[in-house]
Amino acid sequence: MSHSKAATIFNKDEKKVNWHDKALWFVRHKRDKSVHSVEGWENLRNLGQGIKAHMLSNLDNYLIQFEEKALKNGVQVHWAKDGDEHNKIVHSILKEHNAKKVVKSKSMLTEECHLNPFLEADGIEVIDTDLGERIVQLAKEPPSHIVLPAIHKTKEEVDELFQEHLGTKPCGGDPQYLTGEARKHLREKFVNADAAITGVNFAIADTGGFVVCTNEGNADMGAHLAPVHIACMGIEKIIPKQEHLGVFLRLLGRSATGQHITTYSSHFRKPREGAKMHIVIVDNGRTEQLSRPDFRASLQCIRCGACMNTCPIYRRSGGHSYDATIPGPIGSILSPGKDLKKHSSLPFASTLCGSCSDVCPVKIDIHAQLYKWRQIITKEMKQPFVKKVSMEMMGKMFAKPSQFEKVGMVARWSLRNLPKSVINSKPNVWGRERDLPKGPKESFDEWYKNRKKNE
């Protein structure tokens, strides 16, 4: 389904769309407020961009260094070419430890690899422990946002879900009560888990350690209780040195939710006594994206979600309309690199206003990359007949000023004189949900010439 079709479905509930739009805009505001309190914010962004760009230009060496240090720290390191291999590795580690119950903290990578269904098929219970992720897991939906996974759900919907699955009392969607019940429910899961899976926010080449950021403390509750901790990371999570965390931890929380830092920034380096720690390093299309000079900067992303919160299209179409693990502006440049055909409508789900690039903490030129994908897609993919013909006609018309004038005259007359039913007829998508303006009597060109004459 194209993005615009999926967005139409989301837009059926106007009240919800308005709420979604405002809620995300509010998060964008919180980001602005905390960012403006930081002296030298632009310097910080430049550093973030520069460190990540450097990392990509030396990534193979940093990966080798990271592995060497991690092994020395007593951590086992695994490599996976694609999602399938990643799932098999995780599965085999769990089998080796005879783990049947797994708690997982937020990891977009394991979503990308579809780890949960793979493990569940073998009778392994996988519980997502981030509250938002647990909500969408119970609803059997994917997350709709990378930082706020259940932002598309109303509190009443959560209330109903919890009544059905956790046996809670009806509460009119009281967030305090529902969160408290989730805490109890998940506490039980943490205490009984055989293994914990976490994502990785940053992996440090010179220490072999990695950092996981959460607000809820769920990654720590999982990792410090279970006998086995498996951390899954994409190859691009590497940063050269621990001191670089100073830059990224200052950028991440503020860009994500306006917090000056996430509640827990946990630095894992060695397994605790008696426990095991594994790291799975995953490619799954990343080396291919690295080969594309126009798009490789997308691998600098630190998954803060700011580009989603600010995007006028995302806010009004919802994360699910992108039909991709990473939605929103950054998702729209990552996804076509994986499957151009499936995701060909995504680079068009943008006004190219550039707001995403403005807020991005690592200065990815998101809107420029969207524009570049559009050019590739228009060249390589069959365009709808109407679009193709109308584009050709427009091209010819713009090439001849006299014709452009005539067409303009007709259009202005039509907008003034034709009934609305004709103007807003079906082929005119611009007439949907809005009225077109009344056509002025003269064109800009005529107005300008007349003005000159009268001077």
Binding site: E39, S57, L148, I261
Partner: protein
């Protein structure tokens, strides 16, 4: 070819030519703010409380006043046997800590710009402690406050710890319609005592 060799080979072929690593110059961030005030504001913004106290020895007494209902307590301070109701030596698995009401620990780095406090393996007898406790109390010397994360990492440089955490405020979530709820999975409250 193994996946490792394959991935590394592909990175080598596909990466751009080597770019310089930027130098982190700290002077551009200087904002002249007062360390102590800034730290206090930021801990409070993150949902925690800050108390100033004359001496470390007074903390236990003040904590008992703060949490009169607490039954299961543990502190890593010396000479607090009267306060401690659990004996860590006797704890076989971390799960036995589930009922912990109050934990008192010491930190050696606090960051003014965001109210974050550093705890690590050397300061924690068990990693799960600051997460599983209901109420977390941290003691920090004013001298251990730094302005930004950059200075914090300068202090941590060379520290070879198996686990460490920058912790800012109690655990929280806003996953239900963006309403902030304190106390998701980790501690329900954070109190910082500055000495």
């Amino acid at each position: 070819m193994s996946s490792r060799a394959d991935i590394l080979a592909r990175v080598k072929t596909n990466k751009p030519k080597l770019l310089n690593i930027p130098n982190i110059a700290l002077d551009v961030f200087e904002d002249g703010r007062d360390l102590l005030k800034e730290f206090t504001v930021k801990v409070e913004t993150a949902g925690g409380q800050v108390f100033e106290t004359q001496s470390k020895d007074l903390v236990v007494g003040e904590v008992q006043k703060l949490f009169p209902e607490a039954k299961v307590n543990f502190s890593t301070l010396e000479n607090t046997e009267d306060f401690n109701t659990i004996n860590l030596e006797a704890i076989k698995t971390p799960h036995d800590l589930e009922d912990l009401d109050v934990l008192i620990v010491e930190s050696n780095v606090g960051v003014a710009e965001n109210g974050a406090i550093w705890l690590n393996d050397a300061l924690l007898p068990m990693r799960i402690l600051p997460f599983i406790t209901k109420h977390l109390v941290v003691i920090l010397k004013k001298d251990d406050l730094v302005t930004f994360m950059h200075q914090a990492y300068q202090k941590l440089n060379g520290e070879d710890t198996g686990f460490g955490v920058f912790l800012s405020g109690p655990s929280k979530t806003a996953d239900i319609e963006q309403s902030l709820v304190i106390g998701a999975h980790g501690a329900l409250s954070l109190s910082v005592f500055l000495v």
